[in-house]
Symmetry: C2
Subunit: 205 residues, 2 copies
């Protein structure tokens, strides 16, 4: 039996990792309801009952992925530094989010799927982790604006715009693919740099 008291064996570590890796593939591509244990079993190379030896059920796998994701997802925002140059800090945040769209598209789509379905398994996380962090960083941005380092805009909607414009390249890849000729991510870098510089650079009176 997998005992949550003792430390996990090497086999347990390896197989749990395999399962989560396979599940990320499957869940991000088909959503929770569209994913089957059989598909995860196939993708991980383990049998279905064996998967249920490591996880109590489909839902626990999904929840585990979502929990892991939350840290990764918030990290760039955590790193936004109150003492850095405001515009460069925000642009750095934008670029890190854009890189995550390129490097972690599955995670982005997993998240998008969950929120689209009304965040049934994530609302507590959002309230407990995301909300306080966003409130804190909004306050930082407001002080920057008061000091005249940034042109004034609503910080909350600024965040919404950063999230949506960057994640768009992962979440709506199927659409971007149809419309774009060249590598969209390079164009996105230039565009978003311009967008946020023009939005946030304070104008001397």
């Amino acid at each position: 039996m997998v005992d949550s008291e003792k430390k996990p064996s090497r086999i347990q570590m390896r197989n749990r990792a395999r399962i989560l890796e396979a599940a990320l593939d499957v869940f991000s591509a088909h959503g929770y309801r569209g994913s089957t244990l059989d598909a995860i079993a196939d993708a991980s190379g383990l049998s279905k009952p064996n998967i249920l030896y490591y996880f109590s059920g489909k839902e626990e796998i999904h929840v585990t992925l979502l929990n892991q994701l939350m840290e990764t997802w918030l990290d760039p925002l955590v790193e936004m530094d109150e003492n850095g140059d405001p515009i460069e800090e925000i642009l750095r945040y934008v670029m890190r989010k854009l890189e995550m769209s390129r490097d972690l598209p599955r995670e982005s789509r997993l998240f998008a799927n969950e929120i689209l379905q009304g965040a049934p398994r994530m609302t507590p996380h959002l309230e407990a982790d995301l909300k306080p962090l966003v409130d804190e960083k909004c306050a930082v941005i407001r002080t920057w604006m008061e000091k005249g380092k940034l042109a004034p805009v609503d910080p909350q909607h600024l965040f919404y715009s950063i999230w949506s414009t960057t994640q768009h390249y992962a979440d709506f890849e199927a659409q971007v693919q149809v419309l774009s000729d060249a590598d969209p991510l390079e164009g996105a870098r230039l565009f978003l740099d311009t967008l946020y510089r023009r939005l946030l650079t304070p104008m001397p009176e």
Copy 2:
């Protein structure tokens, strides 16, 4: 039998409309795979076999919704007028998209779900309808920029940003709900107006 040759009777019109209305509710909330004919039957007040009397199957209902959606979705872009004032035309487009997030959130989520899953039933539509329209409007925007009426940016990515920032309020409503105190849509109007004015207003040398 429902005969596609003859014009549909009043009962047929009414029931097909009922089914599509119920299906829009269900599909937009749970995605294609997460939705069941039983749920659509319940929501429409018709029995499952009766639904299959009007539509050949679950997929046909979904495809019908997607086809209807495409028109509604493209309409604001179609209306963008080459002869209007460039900045006002684009801002009008932004605001119409934002209104659609408020008034047609189910349609927005239906679309988002479909694209997130890789657009399995919409890629042909995107290529046949969306792509040419976007190409055309990108050309218009480029001429505006050449005439110095708009600050230069990549028109394609400009569209991506408009779509993502406006649709965000419908598609990620569950997240916005957690973070926003007041009515987010009013704040969004102000923010997006500022964002696109600052981005697009040409600077005299």
